[in-house]
Amino acid sequence: MKRPTMYLLLLLVVAAMAVLGGCASLGVEVWERDVLAKSEMQLDNAAVDRALDDHIYFSKEGSSGGRGFGGGGCGCN
């Protein structure tokens, strides 16, 4: 368990660095968020549904969790 964990962590760190390193092709300008500002494009737009799901699967399956925070959005304010 220990080894693969380290590799996965490394992978995540590398991915984060690649993003931060300014992959200029990724992403859009703040005024190009018309679609991303839509409520259905918010990653946490069905928070109550997902919470109910998590509760169901938590009580019926051996694994749980994993989902983090929201983000993206309209780039406003």
Partner: protein
């Protein structure tokens, strides 16, 4: 711009009255949201649950918002107790020790003494430290008659690269107290036979002082806008549980060995025993894309822990617009998990007792699928109603390859068929 002696004030009057009347969407600036949901969950022949959620969020100022969520649920029905089916009538002692229940030959033993209500309260406060940095702190409380939980959490997110990238970390600590009915049984000891139970409490029936469990979670993740229509995220989470991790109501059948008169028939029932720590990790990836009015969401989770369970979860949501502002949302989920190292469908009498053993099917290897369909529609300005139906099914192995005797006759994985209906209502304040 001066016309004659009189100043034109009409523009200003229009603006002032628009503000006064809250016309247009000037007032709909998102001061908060109410989300409510009612779930009816029904396993065929087993547990039924009704669960209601009321979620309120409100912006206190430009920089601060609070959220409060109340969850109520009520559960009734029978649950597999972990024992194997037999050719004979089986009698089990109920959790309180003062009752017993009988299982007919060939049937999966179900404990039908379950009935529980749960109340949970979650609160959170979100504050922007500046335009791109957000701090969240929260708390959690929940009560059941044999289980209570409280927790605190905190997280920070920050946006980068013209707000295309969001990085965040959060941590949570939860302390649970289990007060099993009749006290926490001694692991891997025999279930007291029903015949010995008299009017008073037997030795296992005393309510114990409660067993504790601590959970520490950390999540780190990145959200990335990939294009004008696409957003993705990747989260890594780590969870460490320690303390009382057994399910006090789960037992294992100790069956007679292959050379006995009745191979595979239970000779005893013992309480399960799990390790007292568990380290879980997960990687979760999600991609959401807007395609000509529809929204596609794909996600995948890889989970592994030091109990030997690994799992794969793939979720697929497609939101299809229907005329007006209605939407139809098919959902498909596929899940596969491997069994825990100490999962045993049963123990064999006369063999050396393992350190840990559980016949809880949640720790067995199985596949599961969910099919769902949701329909949502606007009902008023800022309000939406949704109705959804989902079907969830677990499919597992009939039994281990070395099953013998009567154990080969029966499906040792009880399986699960669930039908769920949900009604949701959300309203922007």
């Amino acid at each position: 711009m001066q016309l004659g002696a009189h100043r034109p004030i009409r523009t200003a009057v229009t603006a002032f009255t628009a503000t006064l009347l809250g016309s247009g969407t000037v007032a709909a600036s998102g001061s908060g949201k109410i989300d409510s949901s009612l779930l009816i969950y029904s396993e065929s022949g087993r547990v039924k649950v009704a669960e209601g959620v009321l979620d309120l969020s409100r912006n206190l100022s430009e920089r601060r918002s609070v959220g409060l969520r109340l969850t109520l649920d009520a559960l009734t029905g029978a649950s597999p107790n972990g024992a194997t089916p037999s050719n004979h009538i089986q009698t089990f002692t109920g959790p309180s020790g003062g009752s017993s229940y009988v299982v007919n030959p060939g049937k999966t033993p179900l404990d039908d003494t379950f009935s529980d209500q749960r109340v949970a309260l979650d609160g959170s406060l979100r504050e922007s430290l500046n335009r791109i940095t957000f701090l969240t702190v929260g708390g959690h409380l929940s009560w059941e008659h044999d289980y209570s939980s409280f927790g605190v959490n905190s997280g920070i997110t920050r946006e980068f690269d013209r707000r295309n990238t969001t990085l965040g970390v959060s941590a949570a600590y939860t302390h649970d107290i289990v007060r099993p009915i009749g006290g926490a049984p001694d692991p891997l000891t025999s279930m007291p036979p029903p015949s010995t139970t008299g009017e008073g409490e037997d030795d296992g029936g005393e309510a114990g002082p409660g067993e504790g469990k601590d959970v520490f979670d950390v999540v780190a993740g990145v959200n990335q806008i990939l294009g004008r229509n696409t957003i993705a995220r990747l989260d890594y989470s780590l969870s460490r549980s320690s303390g009382y991790l057994n399910d006090p109501y789960k037992i294992l059948s100790v069956v007679q060995d292959q050379n006995s008169a009745a191979p595979g028939e239970p000779s005893d029932y013992v309480y399960e025993r799990r390790p007292d720590t568990r380290n879980k990790q997960a990687l979760f990836g999600e991609l959401r894309r807007y395609i000509a009015g529809s929204t596609l969401d794909l996600s995948y989770r890889y989970f592994w822990d030091d109990w030997g369970i690994t799992s794969h979860t793939a979720d697929f949501f497609l939101r299809l617009p229907v005329r007006g502002d209605h939407a139809l949302e098919p959902h498909f989920r596929w899940y596969r998990q491997s069994e825990a190292d100490f999962y045993n469908a049963y123990l064999v009498g006369g063999q050396a007792a393992p350190n840990y053993a559980s016949a809880d099917t949640r720790l067995a290897a199985f596949d599961a699928v969910t099919y769902g369909l949701k329909y949502s529609l606007p009902v008023d300005a800022g309000s939406r109603l949704s109705v959804s139906a989902e079907y969830y099914k677990q499919l597992g192995e009939r039994g281990p390859p070395d099953a013998f005797g009567v154990l080969r006759q029966y499906n040792l994985f009880p399986g699960l068929d669930v039908f769920m209906v949900r009604i949701g209502f959300s309203h922007e304040l």
